[in-house]
């Protein structure tokens, strides 16, 4: 049995990991179907008469201080969180893998320059930079949020990839492939990437939850994806002042946020245990 098939079997037997995957899939389905099954998240059918209403048949999770439907906004908020979380993690992994390969394969000088740069970059206070950029960039589209979070989050991955490439370069099977006439591209594709894939997949999947929390923190401060576009962060901000009189406004997005991040972390832990049996 191939190592990947064996890992898939270990993952399927890990009940919390499967549960996390199911929740992630359900949340993704809800985000995609939200426009079809709920009312317009920006609609204010009666701007002054419907503020902070408790859950009812018409509004299953109540309404917010602007008379908007909380259920619809919570489901639409999933779009931003998942897009930013998954998108930025994938982009960061791609960047980090690219730089890690370049440093590992590119000779001493390249390696030195890239890794000293990464050392400095790892010491930058990410949150201060992101706060400054988004405060200045008033109307950043979600794609810009994805790019900027990824651009400040690939450094660790590049270190992981570089370290495994440096080890693998010396391995006998790589030397054998080279002796048999494989080019550099073929060696990277067939021999290096499959080996660095496991640790990279694990670190990316565990990163998704952190990125979702980071985006929520930014939009809680009113930065990044801006109101009126619903995000879980800005919905919690809307509900903050009516926490006692209308708790559903903040509880719905807050619970969705925690549930989603727990699910991603369960799936990520499961992937780690499945791909690296020693660590389990």
């Amino acid at each position: 049995m191939s190592p990947w098939r064996a890992a898939a079997r270990r993952f399927r037997r890990n009940r919390p990991a499967v549960a996390g995957t199911v929740v992630v899939a359900a949340m993704a389905a809800a985000a995609l179907l939200a426009p079809l099954v709920t009312v317009d998240p920006l609609a204010q059918p009666d701007p002054v008469g419907l503020q902070d209403r408790p859950p009812s048949a018409a509004h299953p999770l109540g309404t917010d201080p602007y008379s908007r439907d909380v259920l619809s906004r919570t489901l639409h908020g999933a779009q931003v969180s998942l897009l930013v979380g998954v998108g930025a993690a994938l982009l960061a992994v791609t960047l980090g893998t690219g730089v890690g390969l370049a440093a590992g394969l590119g000779g001493r000088r390249t390696d030195e320059v890239l890794m000293r740069g990464v050392d400095v970059a790892l010491a930058l206070p990410r949150i201060v930079l992101l706060l400054a950029v988004f405060a200045i960039w008033d109307r950043a589209p979600p794609a810009a949020v994805v790019v900027l979070i990824a651009a400040t989050g690939w450094f660790q991955t590049s270190r992981i990839v570089r370290a495994s490439v440096l080890g693998l370069k010396q391995a006998d099977f790589v030397a054998a492939a080279r002796a048999l006439g494989s080019g550099r591209g073929g060696i990277v594709r067939r021999h290096l990437l499959p080996h660095v894939a496991a640790p990279v997949i694990v670190s990316a999947s565990l990163d998704v939850g952190n990125i979702i929390l980071l985006e929520a923190g930014l939009s809680y401060l009113g930065l990044g994806v801006r109101p009126p576009t619903p995000t879980w962060g800005n919905m919690i901000m809307d509900g903050k002042d009516v926490l006692l009189s209308a708790p559903w406004v903040a509880l719905a997005p807050g619970c969705a946020l925690v549930l989603t991040v727990v699910a991603f972390n369960l799936a990520g832990d499961g992937l780690r245990d499945a791909l690296d049996p020693k660590a389990a």
Binding site: A123, V128, I136, G254
Partner: protein, 324 residues
């Protein structure tokens, strides 16, 4: 060891310089005027704007502005706040101790809680205790710190009225109290914001400590100790936890960025008058000198944390400082 420390110190300085340069360029290259809001929102006349720009030297070319800023910085001058009309150094002097108190308390609490929980889980591996603590740390690790802060505020502040929810002191009480009374008053205000920061980070520490200990417990020298007939408790205390001091300092050093990020959110929820509040206000007011100075201070704190982590790791593990 000395050469290693000097090398790491050079990286630390380089990263602080990088932070200052990047932040300076970001805030000065951006649209919008200090004090006057963004171009769309400003109410000031073009003449007023021009006068302000000239007053603060913002009409000069960017390289010239940067050289002037760097020159002032080299003399320890951080400039004036455009908005607060106070020297930036004075603003920082007021705010930084409050953030260090909040962050330091949270750091110590989260280390104690997290390392104890992780060690207990490793000692009781694959038991119900391990599973329960594992579930609790997973949920806490997945909670946004501002959401936990709001929940604590709702339950213990607004609901039970056990603890104050805003500021650092009770207004109007300061002069009537003894020094001890004032300290207790600050401590009561500290509980909820520090707990919000500490609980989330404790979960991260516990997850790390558990897997690190489990890995050590499987190591050769621990198996050798067991083979010599040592009991499990002695193995855990004498061998597995021995490397714990170095890794604890490393963890504490690397967690600085988390506490900085968390303080921006938590200070805004609990009205704590610290660096996070200063940063938040300055960013929205485009108070350039304050933004750059906050970035500088954060950069120094993060770099100091990383340096501490590197040195602690090198002391604990000779392979690292020898560059192997």
């Amino acid at each position: 060891m000395l050469r290693f420390a000097v090398r790491r110190l050079a990286f630390a300085v380089a990263s602080v310089v990088a932070v200052v340069v990047i932040t300076f360029l970001l805030v000065h290259a951006a649209p919008g005027e200090p004090m006057l809001g963004t171009p769309e929102r400003t109410v000031a006349s073009p003449e007023t704007i021009a006068r302000q720009r000239a007053l603060f030297g913002l009409d000069r070319p960017l390289p010239e502005q940067f050289l002037r800023y760097a020159g002032n910085l080299a003399r320890g001058e951080l400039g004036m706040s455009f908005v607060l009309h106070r020297p930036v150094a004075a603003v920082l002097r007021d705010a930084l101790p409050n953030t260090l108190l909040l962050g330091g308390t949270a750091l110590v609490a989260s280390l104690l809680l997290g390392l104890a929980a992780g060690a207990l889980q490793a000692a009781r591996h694959r038991t119900r205790t391990d599973a329960l603590l594992g579930a609790a740390t997973l949920v806490l690790y997945s909670i946004p710190v501002f959401w936990l802060g709001l929940l604590l505020l709702l339950v213990f502040g607004e609901g039970l009225h056990w603890l104050p929810v805003s500021g650092m002191t009770t207004p109007g009480l300061g002069d009537d109290l003894s020094r001890l009374g004032r300290a207790l008053d600050v401590a009561r205000h500290l509980v909820l914001p520090a707990a919000s920061l500490a609980l989330v980070q404790a979960a991260a520490f516990a997850r790390f400590q558990r897997s690190a200990l489990l890995e050590t417990l499987g190591a050769e020298y621990v198996r050798a100790a067991r083979a010599r007939g040592l009991g499990e408790r002695a193995v855990l205390l004498r061998h597995a936890l021995r490397g714990a001091l170095g890794s604890t300092i490393t963890l504490a050093g690397l967690s600085v960025p988390y506490f900085l990020a968390g303080s921006v959110l938590v200070e805004s929820i609990f009205g704590w008058p610290g660096l996070g509040r200063v940063a938040y206000d300055a960013i929205f007011a485009r108070d350039y000198n304050v933004i750059t100075a906050v970035a500088l201070v954060s950069g120094v704190l993060v770099a100091a944390g990383n340096l501490l982590a590197d040195v602690a790791l090198a002391v604990a593990d000779p392979r690292i400082r020898l560059g192997q």
